[in-house]
Symmetry: C2
Subunit: 441 residues, 2 copies
């Protein structure tokens, strides 16, 4: 049912505009630059936009239209939707705002478009959305331009959000964290398609490994439970409207009922859906599941060239009930052979600030040989003159599940290289440990 | 007593080296490039380093030496310290490692240098430190090069850390957050000068507004309590070794006793010293106190052009027991006049995604006139095409205490501009709200 929203062969934009800065212009521009299907801009008062022929109405397009994006004033939406129905369009994204989120008049209008959609069996995403995004086929049906927003590349994470602003911020955050996206959708007022439809689709979608979303309210509790009941992929949700103040903000935002957070949170736990408590936690959770495979045990080993961050990592690990067992005597003996006398052979294994990439590599070889841990946290203080680009290769040579903590001026390129190869990097020891905890729980 | 460590007129580097990559070279290079006093490299086997005349021993320097940095092998330290004593040097930073953190032999060596220092009344910072940093006079007596580390500019925050790696990471984190430093010091094994001496000095230092530190163990509980008892400046501490695993890591790191964390934490609370629970919280706390003045009330107003982030900010505010009172009817009426009909006039005041900098400015003017709140959280979704550089001026025109939340591609220059003018910016609504909470508590 949702396939054509993400894999259309042809897209029409009702409300296409010749004027830079207008939503109807940006939509055409994004598609023109990237989409590998056909594009039909619709506007009765224009001939061509960015070199594309413009049609006065969808009814004038001879081709089939798989997906229609509507970005006209709210009061015109019923008219153009009616035309979509006549044309036989079955999938419509309504970008336009001014519906149920905007008072009584808007509510009436939203009921009206629902009726039209039902009559013609049109499925609607929106209204009050920023659109849909599927980099696999160059479908950037959003009105945010590349010059304004860092957009993620292709990947295995699919994200949904009622809030359009949160969806665009997800784009930026994911892109900054080198997380690739399979599909992204904002569904706004959810007058038709809602979170449960989307989760169901993502669960079946082969290109989606991790599902994440920002939810303000659940439209249909029963359907939602059915969707998540037997989920075989990690689902990570951030809830908006957890408190009285938050719920009040929700109602004026997408007119949802935030619902009882306590109930929501318990239901999630019961069905093994993960709840992120903050935006950062959402992004870090998505990253760890996108980059890594499930780990079977919970024995964590910290290797560090910086004592202080080793201490912070240890504290955070114990706080999160992770195990940091000491190496066996045999492992210690082998480490002793390659490490300077001041090194600490406990866990964290502190290989001292004068460690070179070569020393890291030797330690990794010994750890691999003994195989006493399930997951490794590699802390690298890149600031010492001993650490150069060689550290990337050293870490990549280590064939065990691993999370890296590094930050600072010298680390920027290293992080890019590591994350390109799906080794997740976090800036602080606490965030790195929390990410491991999430992976293990 | 500590004045000369931060304001020396002359610095000698024992163990100065001609060889790039060596600690003794980097120390000379950093000072040569920035320090506005006299520099005396000491090395019996070199004539000149980076164009500076090299002396075979401090005893050959005719001038008075205010501060001596020692970076030779640990077993040579007693000898050169003895020479410092004979020369009349009273302030010494011992960079060299290999003392009490490195087993029994090192402990003996540390006792030996302590005795020499006592005999000559030399005060020691270290051993096992990365040095001292005071950008006000260009004193970068650390061995981290500018090419490897982003270093903060001059400011009002003074930072201390037992751990050298944490000190250098503070440099990078503060620099990234546009936080300026007054003084920074790592004191390593604390064989003489410890956290209490440093806090006492920073409390008296006129250039220090905010004190922050990473502490593994307290050397002298009584002295520490005396130091913090009547502190009139915000002190923010991050404790390493809060747990069993953390304490174990501490003991192999700087040979401190981590002590009972529960007692420590309670003592801090009693004396209004703030405890940061994570690295991020430390940086955010430092930023908010460095940039802002104390606010007297706790009425918070959120202004946003993005509904979703308004919701997240509201949730986090209530979770942190902040008040988000609704605007008065009078204020609402004035807002209605300037805002489009879909805008939400509750708190958060959602001025809708099509808000321009001009609309923000008008809203600020109305808010200023009514003056119903103590502190404002301004959320700006910079991704919309309506937001341009004008937003910086709009925010700066607003004369009330304010914290900003923005992120993403377009925000990078805006954030620099805002923070240059001491408006603190946070990337996520949760971190922004937590920072306000810290300021108010």
């Amino acid at each position: 049912m949702m396939e054509k929203f993400f894999y259309p062969r042809s897209v029409a934009i009702i409300g296409a505009s010749q004027k830079e800065g207008k939503i109807g212009f940006s939509l055409v521009k994004n598609l023109k630059e990237k989409f590998r299907g056909k594009i039909y801009p619709i506007n009765p008062n224009a001939d061509s936009i960015l070199g594309l022929k413009v049609y006065p109405s969808v009814l004038e397009v001879e081709d089939e239209i798989d997906l229609c994006i509507i970005a006209v004033k709210s009061n015109i939406v019923p008219n153009v939707l009616e035309e979509c129905g006549k044309k036989g369009v079955k999938n419509v994204v309504i970008i336009s705002a001014g519906f149920s989120e905007a008072g009584e008049e808007g509510k009436v209008l939203e009921r009206e478009i629902k009726k039209i959609a039902e009559r013609y069996r049109i499925r609607i995403v929106g209204p009050n959305t920023i659109g849909v995004f599927n980099p696999e086929i160059g479908l950037d049906a959003t009105f945010f331009l590349d010059q304004d927003v860092n957009k993620p590349g292709e990947g295995n994470v699919s994200f949904f959000s009622q809030s359009g602003t949160v969806a665009v911020l997800a784009m930026e955050s994911f892109s900054e964290s080198n997380i690739g996206i399979s599909k992204l959708i904002s569904y706004g007022n959810a007058c038709d398609i809602n979170e449960s439809d989307i989760i169901q689709y993502f669960l079946k979608d082969e290109k989606t490994k991790v599902i994440a979303g920002f939810i303000e309210g659940i439209r249909d509790g029963k359907k939602f439970l059915e969707a998540v009941r037997n989920a075989r992929k990690p689902i990570i949700l951030l809830k908006g409207g957890k408190t009285k103040s938050g719920s009040r903000a929700v109602s004026s935002h997408t007119s949802s009922l935030a619902g009882d957070y306590f109930v929501f949170s318990n239901v999630l736990r019961q069905f093994k859906v993960r709840e992120a408590k903050t935006w950062e936690e959402l992004v870090d959770s998505v990253k760890i599941f996108s980059f890594m495979e499930k780990v079977n045990g919970d024995r964590v080993c910290v290797v560090t060239n910086g004592g202080g961050f080793g201490v912070l990592a240890s504290d955070e690990a114990e706080k999160n009930e992770l195990k940091l067992p000491e190496p066996s005597e045999e492992l210690k003996k082998d480490l002793e052979k390659i490490l300077p006398p001041f090194a600490s052979l406990k866990n964290p294994i502190d290989i001292i600030a004068d460690a070179t990439p070569e020393r890291y590599k030797q330690v990794f070889e010994v750890l691999e040989k003994h195989d006493e841990y399930d997951v490794y946290l590699v802390v690298v203080l890149t600031q010492t003159p001993m650490i150069n680009e060689g550290i990337v290769e050293a870490i990549l040579s280590f064939k065990k599940p691993k999370v890296v903590c590094m930050s600072g001026k010298k680390s920027i390129e290293m992080i890019k290289e590591l994350e390109k190869r799906k080794v997740p990097v976090f800036h602080s020891p606490e965030r790195a440990v929390k990410a491991i905890k999430i992976l293990l729980s």
